[in-house]
């Protein structure tokens, strides 16, 4: 496998996940002659302008036709191409949902879907473009892996893994915007499916994913000052979920999940299912986007509005622990 190393995390974080997706694909293309990157008229939004110019034979936009996008990608995958497709999260997970189910799920064809701007990172573009329900939908379809990188370095690790290994079809969920906080400021060991312990603690277990990993770390710093000692876990692979999570859950009396996704069907539900299945006795809090179509504004405004920044999260946890 082509090795990927985190070399310039601060610069990558400044550029943001979409620009870095395009950048990483440029590198992957140099070492993968079977690569094809497809988009439904969102090449520019995927940071693929340089890729298009440098590797025109490896790039295709099918126009604004997401259902067609998935079908064409599946046909190419069947013929041995390593295919990545991009579009905004709801357009992949909902507009093309049944094509995903038939072509990538049912036929198990290894197309990698890169969902741009998931969560509320599309800001003023509004709920039509937000990825509120995509994890819930994708995880109900058999065979589809779901990855949710915590920062741009982790995105690189995930993309290289899918590009150079045979892991089957995947949904890679991009959250956060340029200048989002950094989780990994130097290289680290990443393995598909294996959750990562970022901080050990004893009072509370915090399980987070994507953009919320850095906010959880911020929250835990605030909580440390109040002598609340949190264990912080980065769940970068939401499906398949690492079964070792069950042993970890058994060690804590208080557990919280934090995600930039609806509280229905995402990480909170994944963990709730484990708690129920294994009859784990714990107090459980799900922090995420509420079950409603909320207002529109800048990303920072929305994260604050929904109580998803480090400070809000710390307050929610303090209240939770009082109960």
């Amino acid at each position: 496998m082509n090795k990927f190393k985190i070399t310039d995390p601060r610069q990558w974080s400044r550029m943001g996940p979409r620009a870095m997706f395009g950048q990483f694909m440029l590198e992957i293309a140099k070492n993968n002659n079977k690569l094809m990157v497809l988009s439904a008229d969102l090449g520019r939004s995927s940071g693929l302008d340089r890729f298009k110019n440098q590797f025109p034979e490896k790039y295709l936009s099918v126009g604004i036709s997401e259902q067609n996008l998935i079908g064409v990608a599946a046909g190419l995958a069947k013929e041995g191409y390593k295919v990545f497709v991009t579009s905004f999260a709801p357009f992949l997970s909902m507009r093309a949902s049944e094509q995903v189910r038939m072509n990538l799920g049912y036929m198990n064809l290894p197309v990698n879907m890169v969902a741009l701007g998931s969560g509320v990172s599309m800001g003023y573009l509004g709920n039509s473009h937000f990825g509120l329900e995509d994890i819930a939908i994708m995880r109900a379809i058999p065979n589809i892996n779901i990855s949710s990188p915590a920062d741009c370095g982790e995105l690189g690790k995930i993309l290289y893994e899918y590009a150079f290994k045979n892991l089957g079809p995947s949904y890679i969920r991009l959250t956060g915007i340029p200048n989002s906080a950094l989780v990994y400021d130097k290289d680290y060991n990443y393995a598909f499916k294996k959750f990562i312990t970022l901080k050990k603690g004893k009072d509370l277990l915090i399980l987070s994913t994507g953009s919320m990993v850095s906010e959880s770390l911020k929250a835990s710093k605030i909580l440390d000052k109040e002598n609340i000692n949190c264990e912080i876990i980065n769940i970068h692979t939401l499906k398949p979920i690492d079964e070792k999570i069950v042993n970890l859950l058994k060690k804590f009396r208080k557990v919280a999940t934090i995600e930039e996704h609806s509280v229905i069907g995402g990480l909170g539900s994944i963990i709730a299912e484990k708690i129920a299945k294994h009859s784990i006795k714990c107090h459980f809090l799900t922090i995420g986007l509420p079950d409603l179509f909320g207002p529109t504004g800048t990303y920072d405004y929305l994260i604050d509005y929904h109580g998803l920044n480090g400070g809000n999260i710390a307050k929610k946890i303090v209240n939770f622990l009082k109960k």
């Binding site: 295709l60 036709s65 259902q67 067609n68 064409v72 046909g75 013929e79 038939m102």
Partner: protein
Amino acid sequence: MDEIEKLTNLAKKMRKTLLETSLNSKEPSHIGGALSIVDILAVLYNNILNINLDKPADRFILSKGHGFLGLLSVLYCQGYISKKKLMTFQTNGSEFIAHPIENPRYGIESSNGSLGQGLSFGIGISLAYKKKSRKEFVYVLVGDGECYEGSIWEAAISATELELGNLTVIVDCNGHQNDGSIGKKMNYENLKNKWEGFGWNTVLCDGHNITELLNVLKIKKKNTPTAIIAKTIKGKGINFMENNNNWHHGRLTRNLFEEAIKSL
């Protein structure tokens, strides 16, 4: 025996096979829309497609998945599946159900059943062939009712933009859908205009005329996909099934089966 007679006999054997298969399952099955594509499949599999199960050559995708009995009957008659295997159709746990399930062992290219998806998949394969400079062809069979699906027209745009001269779509215009007749704006003449309007090299033909099929299925145009608009009869070949939409999905009894065989 000349070629036309041979193909006519093959089509007859296929019709008999699909009726036997349906009867054997004791379950209702899609008979009408399978009978309408029998002649097309007979010519395709006997004279047009170069099929190699070990190394994909020409490819056939049945996008109208409910025509699966037709595909099974040609795969059986051409020796790709055994009688024993065929007779597992619509029995518990079988690989052969109402709609195709991808299976390279028998040359079943894709899983279908949800309409409007096979053409985009075929485009992906055609594009791969074009990129690899391979000379083989991809055929996708869709129904006229299936052409109500928007995704068909998304694909129709892509195929011309990608200049896929190696791709042929066959539209089985049997004039019926699940609940009755096709709308007036979707008859075969209108469908011809639509595909032409989308930039396809479009040809109209009688989907039961072997001589015509032998000619039109060979038509290709450089850098342009071809659409064969085949006028067909739902339930073709069995007098009491022809244009009788009760046989879109129906159950054969022993008596009805015998009557059907007589009618062949």
